[in-house]
Symmetry: D2
Subunit: 361 residues, 4 copies
């Protein structure tokens, strides 16, 4: 069964309380990086603001961002740290429309056979039945490969195992990834596997640790720093497999953010985490599907900046978010943040990736 995009139904602003609601209030920023009191904080849902008597949909969203009215009449979403003096911030903390602010959580729900994708699923655990989630994901990814923008968020666990590393590389090569967000560790271990067959010194296939193999990790980093870029490293060392290789070869953007426990780092890693957030958000704001694997911090980071909808070519469609982790605590953490529109699977990402490859490639 092919995937079908659910349609979006705008609220009926001819009804009350919308019709007689006042315009949303606006206060300007007086200090760089600081919002005015009573600023409105955005959710992951579509939010409408009444301005000049019209209900305007924010052009995008981002959890905990602030809505800023631009001179062209659009509403953009800005992080505190990026607020500029004179920015026009919408203030108010109600969500039901009567103050000119309306958070609309049900736009995709009512009239669609796929609408159960949005149902609140309580208590997902290792014992939840995941067959249907897998099948829906296969269909979704086949649709998204050609019609969407699939963003992967990767923890290092995806490259420790031979089969799963190959599986993910194949998915990238076959067009199932439009951007990859990760950190220094994932890229380091992946390149170590390409160059030495090991990850953190242990062979990714037979689990053996050759003598002095704990140096592989550092040697890879040192070689990469000497090469000056991952592209040069790959050429110099004739690397021909893995996540980094497949990304570069297929021109899939690879954003690597720095982390406090990094060795190295590799050349393209962004040391400033807020600058890294800005780079990540360039892709999450285009994302139609987000798949987060075995990384709690990057998952929350990317999840926070990914709204539940996207405007594309004049239409509004849902954004699908998946989070796969072996720990219930980790997947629940994302949902507890308010990102209820997330499909979580509790399993080892190795097996998850091999399933995807088997069913897609």
């Amino acid at each position: 069964m092919a995937f079908q995009l659910p349609s979006y139904k705008h609220p009926d602003f001819e009804q009350e309380p919308f019709r007689s609601a006042p315009n949303a209030q606006i206060v300007v920023v007086e200090k760089e990086g600081v919002a005015p009191q009573n600023y409105h904080g955005l959710s992951i849902y579509p939010e409408y603001f009444k301005l000049n008597g019209e209900w305007i949909l924010a052009s995008e969203s981002r959890m905990d961002g602030v809505p800023v009215l631009r001179t062209d009449g659009t509403i953009q979403v800005v992080e505190f740290r990026n607020l500029q003096v004179s920015d026009q911030v919408i203030v108010g903390r109600t969500e039901d429309g009567h103050e000119g602010i309306y958070v609309y959580a049900n736009g995709f729900r009512s009239h669609d056979p796929n609408s159960d994708l949005f149902a609140f699923r309580s208590g997902r655990s290792r014992e939840t039945a995941y067959s249907k989630d897998y099948n829906e994901l296969y269909e979704l990814l086949n649709y998204e490969r050609d019609n969407g923008y699939i963003v992967w968020v990767l923890g290092p666990a995806v490259v420790f195992d031979y089969d799963s590393r190959q599986a993910l590389s194949a998915l990238i090569s076959e067009g199932y990834a439009h951007a990859i967000l990760a950190g220094n560790a994932m890229a380091t271990h992946d390149l170590e596997a390409a160059l030495f067959g090991t990850a953190l010194g242990q062979n990714t296939y037979n689990q053996q640790s050759p003598p002095n193999a704990h140096y592989h990790h550092l040697d890879l980093i040192n070689k990469a720093r000497e090469a000056g870029s991952l592209k040069t490293l790959i050429e110099k060392e004739s690397i021909q497999d893995g996540i980094v290789y497949s990304s570069i070869k297929n021109k899939v953007p690879l954003i690597l953010a720095g982390s406090i426990r990094d060795d190295g780092p590799l050349p393209p890693v962004i040391p400033d985490v807020y600058q890294a957030q800005d780079e990540m958000r360039k892709h999450t704001r285009k994302a139609t599907t987000l798949i987060c694997l075995a990384t709690q911090l990057h998952t929350i980071a990317a999840g926070n900046m990914t709204p539940s909808y996207i405007q594309k070519n004049g239409t509004i469609r849902p954004v699908y978010i998946y989070c796969i982790d072996i720990a219930e605590f980790a997947v629940n953490k994302l949902r507890d943040r308010g990102s209820l529109e997330v499909t979580t699977l509790v399993t080892n990402v190795q097996d998850f990736l091999v399933h995807l490859k088997n069913n897609l490639v």
Copy 2:
């Protein structure tokens, strides 16, 4: 690459300290169910005892069992509770031969390409590379289907999901199971899925809970008790899929042990856990491969009664034990018991089973 059985090398008892060691000492049981002081407790390894100047291999083993010399000269392994007055128990707590007792942990190790199956693998976790373990298991199971005795130990988690329940059923139908050890819960949820499509009231495919579906669990139990046997239930209700169905249809013995949290129970469940142990041991003593899925207690129970070797048709071969669980704590627990000869995989058993089916059936 086809699986090859490693050969076993007997100890060289012409060497010291074996040659000049005394006979092992024997003390008779004086009270039923109580071993004499200083009794020898068995391990999972081959153990030899010097008797009448000859080194005799115990005909089988069982962790924490007691070696009893029978009148026919064989050494059998008996649990405390099964000791009878006058049983001749071997006493002594050394293991290196100098008191006539020799525990032999290296019989399969030295000269075999598959010997790394026996290596101590420290720190297996969600981040261990499992590709090779999967591949070796596929080869092993293909060999064992025709040449061995594969015993499955199942927790209820194997039947909560549609695909994994189908996968395991297919493996049973295709001959990959020679006996199944489980509890009331696994069988109950499996039959609920067969009859109502739900497990504990939740649909095993789409996760939905129809109205009053929490009654399905009890209704299934009540119907089974009314039928009087699972075979009759399956006929009466025209059940045609699942673990219980496939076991019965393919005449695979299914041992169901009672547990303190059971509802019901189903007709064939054994209420006395020690009697259930005896029934389980009938199969573990024949086992050449043991696969334990998502059940901590049954895994330890079966692991305790499964030795690392088996004598079959005059030859001695290793017994392969696998333990798959999503929690590191659970798989480590088995290894901490001394069962180092266990291959553990940390993942969701749903995915594990679907992989097996994809690669075997």
Copy 3:
């Protein structure tokens, strides 16, 4: 602040739909151990049944038990396996009263400062704030020691550590336990600690493993079997500390149920799990507070047989259930069963017990 028992408010059966509801229907049992079709299954909440025009409260409850009308007009709760031919079972699967069956979940809620003990607390995890839960539990236990019936359900983890084993022993000695439900493993490790200072061969204080200490476990079991009873063992071996010792000394009933992975077992362990359930239920039906520590199966077993209320001396009061485990999965499992009236703490039971002792003894 001293603990105050919330008062119970009976439903107003003068209102509709109660007033004009028909009597509940009754069907008699035709086969031993099998309920009639459409039998009513009980919850943990107070349930009222209309009989002869009167709304009668079941005298007790038990999850998944069946309501049976006795000739004296009382309604008792019977497990399937204990149903006798001619038992009068109430049938019907609605809960709102209109068929003569009313499940009443809010009897304690409306008018009490402690009523938040009953609130649904979503998403409890390692990051939940537990200070208030601890404080309320201290107050509750001080009240219950003199006015209630505190039942402990213990996994073996409570005796592996020196301080926590001492803490729990002290709580028992000081009157904070009226019954203890556990298995062979808890008692075995506890007595091994009393006799040898080790649990499963490892010293409970300094973590060291003396030579051949893995025999301690078996030696203890063998000595206990020789002694014939735990009381005799304690006298013979001059044991003076621990859970078993404190229970016996203070005449606190100790129910030990058999489990599939038991060695031994110890003399008083009940091999038949359903007989063990019957023994456990003798105490859970008296329980006013139930505290379950680090044992998934026994927790579910005891939780299933413990209702949310108890009738005592003509009044109805709530039963408080606590479940403490280090795994979110384990504590959520109990809640997923429908036992929402449970306070769960995610932590190591060692620390939990030491806190209790520090604040109570």
Copy 4:
């Protein structure tokens, strides 16, 4: 029993192979941030290098750093990224002395009653006995308060609960912390608790979520950014409790590193993670005890930069590292890195902190 520092025994370099070993080889850095081929990577242990016929102890260590010979004859430890052109790097990958490089893991072991603190403790889990570890830690901290440098590494979980937040604050006030390493999240939630009584919108004592309390988190950040510094914020808002308050009041350095999932950030958070590492290392190189609570990344970060020994006032003493986390996976991860000299406790950090306060303050 008071804590006693174990003495350190230098290797006997008059013995072979030390005596006739060649000098260690040196190669100069040719490219900034890149080590010469075959560079030596440091461990957490004391390492000696033969230079001009003398065995010189590196003045400090840092896992995976590179030893650089300074013109004053000392050996310093430099991260790749901080290597400068012309730095003299010691090369060679043997550790036993015969190439002029000696890694010395046993300096504190042989002759000391506390030496078991250094024993390899396999398989620590939720079921390990922790009583002795607690007692030793109490003694250690009392010694270190006056004679050492205690560095805390804190995940946000330490401030979600009322009692544990108070406990840690008291420990800081009483002199048990000489530096604190954490991230934006810990400080944000702590200050939210100080200002609103909530953490991420949930009351830290009674778990309730007042209306719109999810704004507290953002409001706190916004106020802090407006204040411009945490000190000013605390004064302006009259904050009088918590981790941040106690640190500032007691002049305990508080290093806050940025993370990819941060909101805000707070004013003093260091956005560049490598600069943050440099700031952290200023304290870890002074650390005599390191206590890491519920933060996987910061724990590995700090653990990597903390050696197993420290030279102070001419003597060499051990550095004690503790890691407390509720997940076995997290604590094992640190040990798998090679940091075997770590004492790990598997529990909820809330309870751990309250125990510390009860026994120290």
